[in-house]
Point group: C3
């Protein structure tokens, strides 16, 4: 296969403007202010910590941004081989005019200065969006986010529900819910009313999805009204729930969310497989891992019960990809979605992409999302994906199946952008 | 690696005539009568349904073949990327003279006509077999199949035992058994007698294998005679078995089948890992999925207890392939067999093939079977496999290990055909 | 990607002298005496047995070496495709001057003679080490090994602890321990004293690691002093432990080993995932398999409790590699280590290597160990790894990320040798 052919496919994919359907962007401060915002991304702090930098040095209270970068910089040489480092380098070259091939102790400060100069521009956010070719950026919003003060047609809200499902037994979460919904909760009915108001609020503010991350042990199930009522009453009156009761409450709330997704016609993003706080002494956001012993069969009852809800599913373990491919091949309401977290490196993206393109209807695949916390990351992350996608299209479609490059590009565009629009509603709903 | 080299290996593999060691062909109507027989294959109905076509439209009672194809055709464009679609296209080009690159609303009817013309020929079945290079086609026969009215030396019977193992607690299955065996069953002894008669009947009619598909939860085990006798008596006298008793009965019958395989020297095809009816509202045959949490360790007692029985093993989850490779590397009676169902797409076939060729004795690998319901599918499915096999042989043996192309081809021929003969008995037994 | 580029990277990797950080070499008889020592390696006996050679013929008591090879030779043709066979061929060509492309019935005896002549040289061991470029070879020593009579600065001891952890309930193991430690054990305190003496003895003799292989079901956990004391007292006074008690005792001893590793600053090699004696009638060392249903999450408590202990982790199932990559990405004390046993074939090494190089800090990866029983195996096994490593470096770093070949080679050297020194202590401690 010629490099030429890959380039021919890659070029139009690179020119394509994008919608990023899953990020953690703070719309009030979407771009970075200093290089510390970038190197403070957990991908770098956790890798530097893993390579030997003590957590205390990274997370010292009150540390200045420049000092933080100074501390991290010497450790970058141990991470040079990683895909994560390659994002930093490509971003620095494309956005900050960095000329070198390595970022290290000798040059971090000049990069810091150069990036600071860029970031200080009044229109930096717009510059980044323009250079990254982003038409829309989906957010991850707490359920009690007021969703005010930003343009929700560009920064599209998404109702994140981990707290509701997994932490509703905690009084602070209960209070946040009652406050956000402006109602008091005493039983299953009033809980449903409260959660309904959240959906009302979010959809009124252009929300395009409900989303949740799920541990490998979770199995959605319908809970009887009586049992649910008992649990909600107990939890909201200060009772302490056993582990089993907590799980039952989680199942009840999760099921209710699916019902509201059905009612409000919201896709329900499932991000399956994360174990929280496995490395308890890890850096901020660098404590979670996974257990590959999980199966989508656990979601069988859910997928059957809600044929009208679209479930874009992300799996954390690469070993789950074939199940995802097979479920999306069979269930009309299951969509393959992106390459999440520990699977977001080229070797896994490539394998997953090949399997999905070979066996899932082309209309049911959301190719990629950045999962970014700061806008600067979209550019290198999508660039990585576009290169992989172009190579897979070249190998598996043009070479192996005799497709024209135009047709391969057409499939690439569908996966990169078209499906995001058709599945989540696009720019004009 | 040059495309030339791959071609040099592929050419003799393409010229090789084949035995297809696992199909669902109906020998009384082996070839298709209309394009609806082909598009009615669950690979297309389930994918079209997954892409959005309602089940009711596909399975409307009394629907005419042409109308069925008319309804499916518009959905094919959503499946163009899939390997399954590529089989349809290659088959249409090779067997029906189709000239296009896409089958869609605009041209399905001309393809329908062209294929109808082909299929209407009196010798269509022979034409397909000839073009496909098939010397023998193994069947999947219900245990009460009379095995009459067809040439069992060409359409080789295979005793399929899912019903006996998993549904014997059901009166209709009990009745079918007693009728087929022409004996009545009241206890374990008379059950053994009845099943023995099935083996007698099948082997007298040239059967070459016993076969079964197994759920991921099943673990074969020997059951005590007393317990077995109790369960069989209870089941056959109309008693209702608990889930645990059903499982115990399944284990008993399964073990008995292995004993008969030993006695009758029949290979016992194990197809491990399918969960039935996961998507209950799915189209016909498009409801089953799998749970990758399964291990061949569950079969340890079986493989140890029956050193004289050959077990060609198919696994449904790609994640089970390394276990299969390792078990076949260690156990003399475990054979790697084909690329089953959800693993029957190029990316998984390629990975599995590489691992098997690198670590399992060359004589213990059955490369491929079509699993087809209609004869027309052998051609494109085996063509897909031959291309993958040729590439793996070129890369891993000629390039990486310096083998001559002749030697690589020799290995390919062994895996494609030679082992089918040596393991299942070949054309002349 | 050009073959030239791969060669450019491979050449300096081939020139690199090595430390082999995990072997089963007997330092008193490190090299082979006859070809039977090589073909007696379980990789060949088990494959020949799997291909059809009865165990009784292989393991007939008192069989002469030449006769053993004579019996194995005819079966090699069935294994020619395997990676294991390729080691034999490369070794024969590189070390014994074998000129052929196949070893079979027709030429095994001349190879036997040629190899015998080589092996009879007084300095054969040194010749092999020299040709293999080995600077140090790590051993696997029983806990009661006196560690005398060999140069521990070359053949580096490693404290293997399977017996202590999993078989301490057995009186013979208890006796070996008390004898080796020259103390009597009656309770947890005296057990700790005895085990401490082993660590004292091993570290005084240049041991560089403690090591253990672990079944998929094992989960390390801290055990209360009271419970531990009870179990140890019971076990050492002849009491019979239940399965649950055995497991608890295993957990106690394992945890104690981690404490001693902490105290003595020894890396603790964890080899995770083996099921022993799955094929009970298999040949010597050819009976073990695995269950891919295992997770590193089972080690969460351990990794958290011992931040000061370095854990080089090997996983048996390829499906565990992504977990290993992710744990090493997050936990400072988790190191990726080699490609173990059933994963030690090119297709899995390549996948694992790509994932590790793309996501784990470059300083936290031990690329390869030979796991050999006889010195002659290091050459072909490391050669296989070097070729795979060179190709991955070429594809994923030079081509995909624009690295110079020098830089790619630098990373390769780190993974092949540099990290072995920094993690295990190098030649000069």
């Amino acid at each position: 296969m010629s490099a030429c052919l890959v380039q021919e496919i890659l070029q139009p994919l690179q020119a394509l403007r994008l919608i990023d359907p899953h990020t953690h962007i703070n719309p009030h401060q979407a771009a970075s202010r200093t290089l510390a915002d970038i190197l403070g991304y957990h991908y770098y702090t956790e890798l530097a910590h893993s390579a030997g930098l003590p957590k205390e040095q990274i997370e010292e209270p009150g540390i200045e941004p420049r000092e933080k970068v100074r501390r991290l910089a010497p450790w970058l040489k141990h991470l040079e081989n990683t895909a994560q480092y390659s994002w930093l380098l490509e971003m620095s070259q494309q956005l900050f005019g960095f000329q070198g091939e390595r970022i290290d102790e000798t040059n971090w400060e000049s990069l810091y200065e150069a990036s600071l100069k860029c970031m200080s521009a009044a229109d930096w956010e717009q510059q980044v969006l323009q250079k990254s070719g982003l038409d829309q950026v989906y957010l991850t919003n707490d359920f009690d986010d007021p969703l005010t003060g930003f343009d929700t047609s560009f920064y599209v809200p998404c109702l994140r529900t981990d707290d509701l499902v997994f932490h509703l037994f905690r009084p602070p979460v209960q209070q946040r819910l009652q406050q956000a919904a402006a109602t008091s909760v005493t039983d299953a009915t009033s809980l449903r009313d409260a959660v309904g108001r959240l959906f009302e609020h979010f959809t009124a503010n252009n929300a395009r999805a409900c989303a949740i991350s799920l541990p490998p042990t979770f199995s959605p199930a319908s809970v009887s009204a009586v049992a649910a009522n008992h649990l909600v009453s107990k939890a909201f009156s200060g009772g302490e729930l056993s582990a089993e009761e907590q799980n039952c409450l989680s199942q009840f709330v999760f099921w209710m969310l699916a019902e509201f997704c059905d009612q409000y016609e919201l896709p329900f993003d499932l991000m399956i497989g994360v174990n929280r706080r496995v490395y308890e002494q890890g850096v901020y956001q660098g404590q979670d891992l996974f257990d590959s012993r999980v199966s989508l069969v656990q979601y069988r009852e859910l997928f059957n019960a809600f044929p009208g809800v679209i479930f874009p599913v992300s799996v954390l373990a690469e070993t789950s990809n074939q199940e995802l491919v097979s479920f999306a091949w069979i269930f009309p309401n299951v969509i393959t979605c992106g390459h999440w977290w520990y699977s977001n490196i080229p070797v896994f993206i490539e394998r997953d992409t090949r399997a999905r393109l070979q066996a899932v209807p082309g209309t049911k695949q959301v190719g990629y999302y950045s999962d970014m916390y700061k806008l600067e990351f979209a550019l290198p992350k999508f660039a990585m994906y576009r290169r992989i996608l172009a190579r897979v299209l070249a190998e598996d479609f043009v070479v192996a199946r005799g497709w024209s490059t135009e047709r391969a590009v057409e499939l690439g565009i569908r996966v990169l952008r078209g499906n995001v629009e058709s599945i989540f509603g696009g720019i004009q709903r």
